[in-house]
Symmetry: C2
Subunit: 256 residues, 2 copies
Amino acid sequence: MRDKPLILITNDDGVHAEGIKELTACLRELGDLAVFAPDGPRSGMSSAITSLIPVTCTLLKEEPGLRIYSCTGTPVDCVKLAVNDVLDRKPDLVVSGINHGGNMAICVHYSGTMGAAIEGCISGIPSIGISLTDYTEGAGFGECCRFGRKLARRLLKEGLPKGTYLNLNVPNIPHVKEMKVCRQAAGRFINEYMRSENALGDPVYWLTGSFDEVKPIHPENDTLALDNGYASLVPCRIDVTDYDFMQKLHSMIQDE
Amino acid sequence: MRDKPLILITNDDGVHAEGIKELTACLRELGDLAVFAPDGPRSGMSSAITSLIPVTCTLLKEEPGLRIYSCTGTPVDCVKLAVNDVLDRKPDLVVSGINHGGNMAICVHYSGTMGAAIEGCISGIPSIGISLTDYTEGAGFGECCRFGRKLARRLLKEGLPKGTYLNLNVPNIPHVKEMKVCRQAAGRFINEYMRSENALGDPVYWLTGSFDEVKPIHPENDTLALDNGYASLVPCRIDVTDYDFMQKLHSMIQDE
């Protein structure tokens, strides 16, 4: 068994979500699988960690080549706890997803799916986050699985540079053209709240909004590739230092 | 009043934390202040957003040039709600902190303080996160305030490039040398869990750990500057695309 690669699978929609089940099924042939995922939805958890209360995990299922754990923490907690304490060896690959909903453009910052991929990368393991740009019930994960399996196979052979992880988004159309290497689209969400009232008549705010992309749209943007029927693949880095601005910033703080 | 700049102040330790009070006091002279912060501790919340339940806010205090709001959401929710709905004009600057505890190196990914700064930046506002590398009771925020005020004044005049935000960390020593422009130190946390038991005798895991820095340590690392008695200032970017790896990745996925 130890000759087979070990793949850690997690997500932010919870261990019972359809997307992680499909992902698990489609990666089964590539190695031993450890599914270690939140016990319920943790969408939008980014790289949040749990420190003020303890986390726990439960082994839900064990069969040859597959263990499934449920964890009370965030997606990042799942990766940390699995890698640090629960798994008996270091995973060769972390795959997070398949997320119900896209994580293109700046969503990499908010996404729990991507938080888990970032954590896998920080732990020194080649890591991918996979998302389907459709969160409706009954969305089809087939094309996601096709690209996800291809990428996973590749990464198990070749790895990734230290500090680099991948963000794969797949449009929900019957025949996705191919994977296209892209850059993260720039922009922001606007009109982000729906104002409503609670039962006492006090104002409450529900998060909503639409993405307002910076114009002109760059031809390598992930959003554009998705619109054109491709799966977008953005290589991302853990080091967020803005090296280009360091010298200028040095001058700015010296002048005063 | 509208001639004065508007500074949005938030944090992840909550609106009643000492660090945000000190920050508010020290920025008072620079403009009108809107403090809009979580109603309690939200450490380690990264860029988490609240979408499954609504968020609410409460005006705690209003006096000329200062409004203080408490919010049920995360640090990012605070920035979003303040900028989208509650404030009557767009802030000229977002300052997040002063965090009780350092956010150097890869902590930029986990920190709620930095999550708020990232959100300010995404919203198109010059944004800084400020942290004191000491979370003990009675830690002194004086040097943080000195550097924070200097930076805030500078940014109100000159702004920042689009998509760039600042991560300022200050060591808790009486006389910090100066601000040094740094890069984010590479590394990971190790030995991250203390295993314990709950009242039923079941295992529970408490997050802990120590930072294991990649060796050799780069002379521009933020961790090194702090160790040497400087305040570290890392310019960071919203766009996490690994541009250097795009071409290679393109080849990797074509070959198969």
